[in-house]
Each structure stands twice: as structure tokens, then as C-alpha cells.
């Protein structure tokens, strides 16, 4: 039979570049699929990945390396692939950095190689590889310092890089789902399926997530015997049984990427991403699973390690497990003449599989001096040359491997005299196995170093988690099955299942193994040619450089050399790099330790995390009660938490003209403003006054019923956090007005003090902001408008003066009216229950018609309050501004009692003379607008960077004064009134003068109208 296959393969190879073998594989050769890579059209079959299809078409170079643009071929067949990163599709279906090994082939698939121009085959930048000595670790930091890194950044970003972010909006949606289960099993290989079979028998909610297209894990690439039948048959039986089992959910194509506190795990399911542009657009592209599991079984398998020798990155040098998977799962021979190189027994089965399917196995090269066991015997039985005590000294072939020259291995990575030269087109290597303990480590699990297998294995974890199979350092199939069953049953019992019978693992065709002997790197060969991290071009020489420069911590070496920092997060390189560090520093590997594993284990698209929180669904729109009226009158809306009119545009008017007209109208006659978002918090209880007295820097106890007082709130650091007028509604009842954006924050602030610090105070607080709609009427004719309304309140100026409050009815509706002003004009803030908001607005508008009442928006209000120098907390203050900076020293001095932040105001720093103080700024040329955010400097053309004396916080062209004015925070500002300064912004300066913040109506006479 061997001869048959052999001659068939060779015959096919002669006429047909397709290296598809005729037997055993899991692709459907009857269904051919056309696709393009780098602009060329190829054909693959159903069941292929892009990688297996490229390999079947003889495409040997699939990418260029990140830094040096070295040609690279496939290294692996799975998620650890560092080289075959491709740019998939385009426009709304574009995806950068897709691993060709994980992309299932679909009709019309389009992919391009990355970091190459014009193509992977003819990359003009490949010349960089010739200068690799110029690009050691950290060369950016060392070489690109003059004049600055930014000078080079654009160039470097073009030279070194990965895929490109698609510019078009995503054509598909993403979803999120929550999932609760008793047992979550991560990984659907032998151990994971066994765990699911055992756990599923308990009748619990059991979920199995696996990141491959189909369940079976690494078994899909092997030819094994389980329970007397083929491993393929065992997988099929297991999956069928699980599908039929009630309570069991199988989620293939789902990568678990994060393991967080209290057994919360996150998985990303490729719902129809794998279908490309042919996907059903009604379906989400990907789905984020948020899983809360009582018990977790990690059966995440292991990843094979590359061997580290000179030029080990040449195309055609692959992981042995990948060669085996391409052969058995996809029916693709990676080459025609294969050399296997190893330091352990796992490649021997690969040699047998290749040989049995007629692929020429040139030799098995084993770095161990004299391994003796059934594997070695089986190879010898087939007359496959077995060369022990040897390692690869030299690789021939630049664009793809053509031959390897061997040398005697003297032990410890030292090579002796040269030996055989073997012509080959594939080198299948194995440096041992690294258990995938990333999720375990994220869960908080600690690791032990297993000397026997030279790898880190799980030790202990506080979370309810078990690890089974290769992830646990168990590399024999029998052991994987047994651990799987045991862990699954134990997890189910711990999650509350009854005492179900623990099924025993079926027997399989394991052979005893001869122990691995580490071969970490070649000690006496050029180390700048020995690759560790293929994706980021990190070599043994880079670790040596870091060592010479005295980097000792593994975390520092990682960042200095960038080993393990690319999108594969060092899946194939981390342990090799640790071992090199250990060897160079004379430490043992566990003493070097590992870098911290962080989510995500596998790259996830941003869209998955965004889900549906996008565009209109990002957040609910908060609309004012009179929203429809505002829109009908041409309101220019902006989202300020609420949808708020900035101004109302009339026909032929632009934004600036509208703002100016509205501001003028308020000063000349009367305007009306929708103040509904103003924060309103009721504070009630016998201790309400005492409480507010501690909250405000102002005196709250002395406030009389029906009176209002402007107040400032500080945090305990003495920094101003909010301001507003508070009103005493009754002896034990206050209304606290906050800034519109601060209502929720201040409500929480009050609650925190009451619940956590002053449990003895009898006070309740309630945020009633949305319960009350507010119309503010402001201007010299405001009182007449109020008097035109149907109300039981006496609006006579003497009966109802400024900073007084009255409650009563307006047009038959319960109303609360406060005379407070943010414009500097006489103002009435009328509040009614929110459902009457539109009716009140219309009633006021009708009552004001005689006075040509003008609705004004937030932007117009900002002009009016800037003219008056009224503070806007958060705009005119920053995270350092205290009440003394705002000129509140005298009122504070008069208050006897303590308040939050008072003690901080007595610190030396809080009373420094050169602090930034709140002042007015006036442009020398009244036509020149002042730039908000511009810095205060002393001369017209400062040599930047120059020390700043403060900055401009608000500005406007004042219609009332016909001046260009602003407000700002300026060092020693209050003692510098009248001084000329310059405002610097974007390279220009504007001459200005420091003045009092109250630009308009300094005496405040207009308030009393």
C-alpha cells in the first residue's frame, strides 16, 4: 500500500502543484473553492483553512517579518501562528492580522500578505534583512533620538508594521450575551471532550467552548486508536453523545480570551465572521460571551516549541505538530522531502505518519545522544534514517529551505564537528511542549516548573478551576483522557451533581516515552541568526544584549527586546526566551520566572467589546420636556448629557449671529431659557441645615425660609467641586441646586457623607432633577412677563426681591419660583412638575409676546454670564482651584463652623501668593476674539516652551460692551488688575489686559429690576 500511495503522490506532484493526498483527511476534495492571495487566484477545498490551502498550492512564503522583512512561511497550523498574518477582505469586511491558520476557506476569499510591498513574494524592503546588525533590540530608542523620535515615527511605522485598520464602517453587527452554567469546559480536544462527557452525565448545565472550526483539538491532526477504533471515530461519537445530552451546550469557534475574578470568563464566538462577505447580515459577526461558571475545567492543550538554531526562521522550517496536522487533517504534505529535528519523542509519530502516506522522510535528527524506546524502534523498523546526538548547524536556502547541514551535539547546546548534509524542502522541528496555562495564570493560579518536561505547569489556584490534559503537563493521550474524565466528574460533583458513576477512560495506543532533553539554543553559533520570537524578529543576540546591559527582570527584558509582545503574545517564544535568559545569567528557569499573563489570550476585535453600544444605541438621548418646541423654533441642539438648544437659528442667520441676537434681547427686553437640566436635590430632615452647613463653604444655618444663597462645595482637599443656589423651603427642608452636569455626582456625594460618615444625622436626600421642568425668564421686562401669567404669587419687586423663593401656582399648576440670576438681569426660575414643562414654556412665550420675548440657548447664556464674570465650575475652575483662588477668603473667614475641605485651605500650598486666581481678561483690540485655553505670557513673542502664568478659561465677543472679553486663572491675578499680558495659543499671541471678572454692571443694579 505504501508503494501505491508513494507512486501516486509522486505522479501527482509531477503534473499538479496540489499536494493533496488521497486518504484519511477531513477536507472535502469534491468541493473546490477559489480564493486569492496577494492578487493570485488559487483553489482549495471545503474544510481547508487559508493556510492549508496555500500550502496545498505550494505557496511557501506567506508573510514578511515585522522588522527585517525576512521571508516567512507557515510555522504552525493553529492559534500560535506568528508568520502567516494576513489582511482579509476589505471595506466593511476588512480584518487585519488574521492568522491564515485560523481562517476557514470560503468561496471568493481575498487575502493579502502584510508588511510587504508590493507583495510578500517581491518585497522591496526585504533588503532590510541584509542590515540586520543595525537593528538590535531597542535600536529605536538608541538611534532615533535626534532631533526626536517623532521625526522618524512616520517612516518607521511604514517600514515595520502589521495589518491596516479598515477605514470603512463594519458591515456587520456584534452582540454580547451572558451565560450562567455549573461547569464550563475550555478546550474541545481529547481532555476537554472527556471532561464534557463526564460532567454532562450529571444533568447540569455544562458548556464547552473551543476555538477551532470543529471539535477534536490536536487529535484532529493525529492518527490514534481510542477504545479500539480510530481517534476520528471516537471524536465523532463523543460529539454526538454530547449533542444529545440535555443541559450540554457545545460552542465551537469560540475563543476564551479572559479569566477574571469569581469564575467570570469571556469568550469570543465567530458567529459568521468565518463566512466573509457572503455572511448573512442579519447574523452578528461575532458574539461576546460573558460566562459565570460555578466550576471551570481548563483543557487548553499545549503548544509545541520551535528549536533554536541558526536561520531557524527560513520558510519550510515548521513545527512538527503542524506538519502532522496538515498531513492528517487536511491531506496536505508540507513538502516532498522532510527532515525531522527533535529533542523529544513526539516527532516520531509524525515521521511514521509521513512515511506511511508516502512522503519521503529524509531522516529523524535527535539531539539526544542515544534515545532508546518503542518510538525509535518503530522508525528503524521502517528504515527511516535515525541520526541521534546531532543538531542543525546550518540551513541552506534563503527563500526556502533546501538543505540542512548537521553537526554533532556535544550536550548543552554545544555543537561539535560537522556531519551530514541533508537535502530537504521541509524541516519539521520540536523543542518540546508548552502547556497553555495562560487562562489559569489569569485566574490567579501559580505555576511550577516541571524539570521532566521542561515546562511550566499549573500548581494551585484559589478559584474553582481544574486543569486537565496537556495544559496540565500531561502529554500522553491516555493520561489526557483520564484527567479529562476525572476533572469533569469532580467539577460536576463540586457544582452539585449527584454521585454519578465516574466513567473510566477508554484505552489507547500510547507507547512509553523517553524523557526530553532540553536543547534551548545553539551556544557556539552566530546568535543573531537564531530566532526566538518570529513575529517581532527577536533573536538570541537580543537577549544577550539585554543581559550585557544588565537587564535582569524578565518583565524588563520582555519590554526591552519586545520578545512576546506582538499579537501572538509569545505563544511559541516565551519559554525559549526564558531559557536563554536563564542560561546567560546562570539561573534556573523557575528563578527567572514568567512574565505576567494578561487577557486577552487571543486577539479580539474591538467590535466584540463594543457590541451594540454604537451610534444611536450608544446611550439614551435625554430630551427636555419642551424638546419638540425647541426643534420647531430652529434650535441648534447639542448633546450635553441632555439634548440642549445652544441657540435658535432664524432664517438666514448663522450661529454667531443668533447668539448675539439672543444675548442682546435678554439685556434689552426679556428672554426665556430652558433650565430644566439644572440639578435639583431635595434635602429634608431635622438635621438638614447642620448637614448642608458642613457641605457648603457658606453658612446654611442662618439662611431664612424662602430665601436662597449662592454656595460653593469643596472636596476634602479644598478643591471646588460644584456651585449653585440653595434654598430653604422650610426649617427642615432645602432645595440644593447643582450645575446641570453635576446633579448625579453631587447626589452621590451627599449620600456618601450621610451613609458613611454622619450616620447620626437625620437627613434624607433625593435627586428630583427630572421631576421638575424649568423655564427661566430673564431681562429688564422679566417681572412684567411673570405678572402677565395667571398666578397667586405677588411678583412686585418689593414683595419678591432677588434671591428669594416663592411657591404657589402658575396657570393652575403647582410652581416653585426662585429669583436667582446667571445672566446679570432680573431673573425668575419657574419650576413646574415635568409633565407641564411644555405647557409652561408655551404659556410664558405667550405672556411675553408683548415684550418680544426671545428664547435663548446655552451658548447665549454663556456670553451673558461671561460678561458678568459668573463662575462656571469645571470650565473656569480645574482640579486644583480652591475657594480662596476664587476670592472667597473673606466670607469663609466669617463662618465659624467646619465644612468639608476647610482644613485643607489652611495648608501652606493652598494660601500661596502665586496661585492661579480667577480674574477677567480683556483684549486690547475689541475685535479680536480671545482663544479659550490660551496661556498667559508676558511678551508678544515668547520663546516657547515658556513658563505659563495661567490660562484663559472662557471668552466671548461681548455684545453689551462691544469688547472682546474673557475669564481666566492667572498667577497672582488679583494683584495684577490693569496689567498688560499676552494670550498665547497655536503660535500666536493676542495682547490683553487683566481686569475684574465682572465686566458688565459691576454694581449688580440690574439684578433688582
Amino acid at each position: 500500500m505504501n508503494n501505491d500511495v508513494n507512486s501516486r503522490v509522486q505522479g501527482e506532484a509531477a503534473q499538479n502543484p496540489l499536494r493533496r493526498l488521497g486518504t484519511g483527511h477531513r477536507v472535502d476534495t469534491s468541493e473546490s473553492i477559489t480564493f486569492t492571495f496577494d492578487g493570485k487566484t488559487y483553489t482549495g477545498c471545503a474544510g481547508d483553512t487559508l493556510a492549508s490551502a496555500l500550502l496545498a498550492n505550494g505557496v511557501r512564503r506567506v508573510g514578511r517579518s515585522f522588522k527585517l522583512h525576512r521571508p516567512r512561511g507557515l510555522l504552525s497550523a493553529g492559534r500560535e501562528e506568528p508568520n502567516a498574518l494576513v489582511q482579509l477582505e476589505g471595506e466593511g469586511f476588512g480584518e487585519p492580522n488574521a492568522r491564515a491558520t485560523l481562517v476557514p476557506l470560503y468561496k471568493g476569499l481575498k487575502a493579502r500578505g502584510q508588511n510587504a510591498w508590493p507583495s510578500v513574494e517581491r518585497d522591496m524592503l526585504g533588503v532590510l534583512g541584509l542590515f540586520q546588525r543595525l537593528f538590535p533590540a531597542s535600536f529605536y530608542y538608541k538611534s532615533l533620538m535626534w532631533p526626536s523620535w517623532h521625526f522618524y515615527e512616520g517612516l518607521v511605522r511604514r517600514l515595520a508594521g502589521l495589518g491596516k485598520v479598515p477605514r470603512a464602517a463594519d458591515a456587520q453587527q456584534y452582540h454580547k450575551r451572558n451565560l450562567h452554567c455549573e461547569v464550563l469546559i475550555v478546550g474541545g480536544g481529547a481532555a476537554g471532550l472527556a471532561a464534557a462527557l463526564a460532567a454532562g452525565a450529571g444533568g447540569l448545565r455544562v458548556v464547552l467552548m473551543d476555538d477551532q472550526e470543529e471539535l477534536g483539538g490536536s487529535l484532529l491532526g493525529e492518527n490514534r486508536v481510542i477504545g479500539g477504533s480510530s481517534s476520528t471515530a471516537w471524536i465523532a461519537q463523543a460529539v454526538a453523545k454530547l449533542r444529545a445530552q440535555e443541559g450540554v451546550t457545545l460552542l465551537p469557534r469560540t475563543s476564551v480570551i479572559g479569566y477574571y475574578e469569581h469564575n467570570f470568563l469571556v469568550g469570543v464566538e465567530r458567529v459568521c465572521n468565518h463566512l466573509g462577505p457572503g455572511a448573512d447580515l442579519q447574523q452578528p459577526r461575532e458574539r461576546l460571551w460573558r460566562v459565570r461558571a460555578k466550576q471551570v475545567v481548563l483543557a487548553t492543550g499545549a503548544i509545541e516549541r520551535p528549536l533554536v538554531f541558526a536561520d531557524n526562521d527560513r520558510p519550510g522550517i515548521m513545527l512538527a505538530s503542524a506538519v502532522q496536522t496538515y498531513l492528517n487533517r487536511y491531506g496536505v504534505a508540507a513538502g516532498r522531502r522532510v527532515v525531522l529535528v527533535t529533542n523529544n519523542d513526539s516527532v516520531y509519530r509524525v515521521a511514521l505518519d509521513l512515511h506511511d502516506l508516502g512522503v519521503t522522510v529524509v531522516a529523524v535528527v535527535d539531539s539526544r545522544r542515544d534515545p532508546v524506546g518503542p518510538y525509535q524502534q518503530a522508525v528503524r523498523d521502517r528504515q527511516i534514517p535515525l541520526l541521534t546526538g546531532r543538531m542543525v548547524r546550518q540551513v541552506r536556502g534563503r527563500r526556502q529551505v533546501r538543505a540542512v547541514r548537521l553537526a554533532a551535539h556535544l550536550g548543552g547546546g554545544q555543537l561539535g564537528e560537522s556531519r551530514e548534509s541533508l537535502a530537504c524542502d521541509v524541516v519539521a522541528m520540536s523543542g518540546g511542549w508548552t502547556p497553555s496555562i495562560h487562562l489559569y495564570s489569569q485566574a490567579g493560579g501559580s505555576l511550577d516548573f516541571n524539570e521532566h518536561s521542561a515546562c511550566f505547569v499549573p500548581a494551585s489556584c484559589a478559584q474553582a478551576v481544574r486543569v486537565a490534559g496537556a495544559a496540565n503537563g500531561e502529554f500522553q493521550l491516555q493520561g489526557c483522557l483520564a484527567e479529562g474524565y476525572r476533572s469533569g466528574a469532580a467539577a460536576a460533583r463540586a457544582a452539585g451533581a449527584g454521585a454519578n458513576v465516574e466513567p473510566s477512560a477508554p484505552s489507547c495506543d500510547d507507547w512509553p516515552q523517553t524523557p526530553l532533553e532540553p536543547y534551548w539554543y545553539t551556544g557556539n553559533a552566530a546568535t543573531e541568526k537564531q530566532w526566538l520570537d518570529f513575529q517581532y524578529d527577536v533573536k538570541v543576540s537580543d537577549i544577550e544584549l539585554a543581559r550585557r546591559e544588565n537587564f535582569i527582570s524578565v518583565e524588563h527584558v520582555k519590554r526591552y527586546t519586545t520578545n512576546g509582545m506582538s499579537v501572538d503574545q509569545g505563544k511559541t517564544s516565551n519559554v525559549n526566551a526564558l531559557a536563554v535568559m536563564a542560561a546567560l545569567s546562570g539561573r534556573k528557569i523557575p528563578a527567572v520566572g514568567t512574565t505576567r499573563f494578561r487577557p486577552p489570550y487571543h486577539p479580539a476585535t474591538i467590535g466584540t467589546f463594543v457590541g451594540r453600544d454604537l451610534g444611536e444605541s450608544y446611550a439614551p438621548r435625554l430630551e427636555l420636556p419642551a424638546h419638540s418646541w425647541h426643534l420647531a423654533q430652529g434650535a441648534w441642539m447639542e448633546d450635553m448629557g441632555w439634548q440642549r438648544p445652544q441657540c435658535y437659528l432664524r432664517a438666514g442667520e448663522d450661529f454667531e449671529a443668533a447668539v448675539r441676537r439672543e444675548a442682546v434681547a435678554v439685556r434689552r427686553s426679556v428672554g426665556m431659557f430652558d433650565g430644566s437640566p439644572l440639578g435639583k436635590i431635595e434635602v429634608k430632615g431635622p438635621d438638614a441645615a447642620r448637614f448642608l452647613n458642613r457641605i457648603y463653604i457658606n453658612n446654611a444655618v442662618s439662611l431664612k425660609v424662602n430665601a436662597g444663597r449662592y454656595g460653593l462645595m469643596c472636596n476634602e482637599n479644598g478643591v471646588v467641586i460644584d456651585d449653585g443656589v440653595f434654598v430653604r423651603l422650610a426649617d427642615d427642608h432645602f432645595m440644593v441646586h447643582t450645575t446641570s452636569g453635576g446633579a448625579t455626582r453631587i447626589h452621590r456625594w451627599l449620600e456618601e457623607w450621610l451613609q458613611c460618615e454622619w450616620l447620626d444625622l437625620q437627613v434624607l436626600v433625593n435627586n428630583v432633577t427630572t421631576q421638575w421642568a424649568n423655564v427661566t425668564v430673564s431681562g429688564p421686562n422679566a417681572r412684567q412677563v411673570l405678572q402677565a401669567l395667571d398666578s397667586d404669587i405677588d411678583f412686585d419687586a418689593a414683595a419678591f426681591p432677588h434671591m428669594q423663593f416663592r411657591s404657589g401656582t402658575v396657570n393652575g399648576v403647582e410652581a416653585r419660583i426662585l429669583r436667582a440670576s446667571f445672566t446679570g438681569e432680573a431673573s425668575y426660575e419657574i419650576s413646574v412638575p415635568a409633565r407641564y414643562g411644555l405647557a409652561l414654556w408655551e404659556a410664558v412665550y405667550a405672556a411675553g409676546e408683548t415684550f418680544d420675548i426671545t428664547p435663548y440657548g446655552v451658548e447665549s447664556l454663556m456670553v451673558l454670564r461671561t460678561e458678568k464674570g459668573y463662575l462656571h465650575v469645571g470650565a473656569d475652575t480645574d482640579g486644583t482651584t480652591n475657594p480662596l483662588d476664587l476670592g472667597w477668603g473673606v466670607p469663609i473667614g466669617k463662618k465659624q463652623d467646619d465644612f468639608i475641605g476647610r482644613r485643607s485651605l489652611a495648608r501652606a500650598n493652598d494660601t500661596r501668593k502665586d496661585r492661579l486666581q480667577f480674574v477677567g481678561i480683556e483684549a486690547v483690540d475689541p475685535r479680536l476674539p480671545l482663544p479659550v485655553g490660551g496661556h498667559v505670557v508676558s511678551c508678544a513673542s515668547p520663546a516657547v516652551p515658556a513658563p505659563t502664568q495661567g490660562y484663559l478659561t472662557s471668552a466671548c465677543l461681548s455684545p453689551a460692551l462691544e469688547k472682546s472679553i474673557g475669564l481666566g486663572l492667572v498667577s497672582r491675578g488679583r494683584e495684577r488688575l490693569g496689567e498688560q499680558v499676552y494670550i498665547y495659543a497655536d503660535g500666536n499671541t493676542t495682547a490683553a489686559k487683566i481686569v475684574s471678572p465682572t465686566h458688565f454692571d459691576a454694581k449688580g443694579e440690574r439684578l433688582n429690576g
Binding site: H262, G444, Q463, C756, L759, D898, R902, R903
Partner: protein, 102 residues
Amino acid sequence: MMQIECPWCGRRDEEEFTCGGEAHIQRPPDPQQNSDAEWAAYLFDRINPKGVHLERWCHTYGCRQWFNVARHTVNHNILAVYRMGAAVPADSVGVAVDEVSA
């Protein structure tokens, strides 16, 4: 993401809560009598134990009530949840003191 047992609402995901930092920091009764150093200690000094940490949490997106939690900072196990003003549960105090001094 942790699950926290709100004393009023029951067990909920961490994202419904906000953490207010270390618990049992008493505001000085008369701050004006404090030295700058004492006041700074109240404002800024916080323990950072590798072990049990007594901290206050608020069920912000639920009942808006504050309460105290004894949480192990290494494994995030929650040893106790107790109301504001209640004494520290004895079993978590023992662990906390041991861990802090260790």
C-alpha cells in the same frame, strides 16, 4: 469580575458597584486642631495590604446603599459583607491583622 453580596439586594456583578476605597477611616472630629501631617494622613494615607482589605462599596446602579466588604486582595475572595456602622466581623479582623502585619 467579582460578584458582591449587597446586604439589601443580594448577589450582583461587580459592574453594578463602585468601590470607595479603604473603610473605617474616621474623619477627625475637629480638623482645625489637626497638624498638617495629621490632616495629610487622614486625606492620603491608605494601607495597601497583600491580604484582607476592609473597604467600602456602593451599590451605585442598584439600591445606592454603601456597605463594607472584607476582600482578599490576592484571590479576591470576599470574607464578609457588613453594614455601615456595624463592627468588623471577628473572623475577617483576625485574617486582616495577620495579613497586614505579615
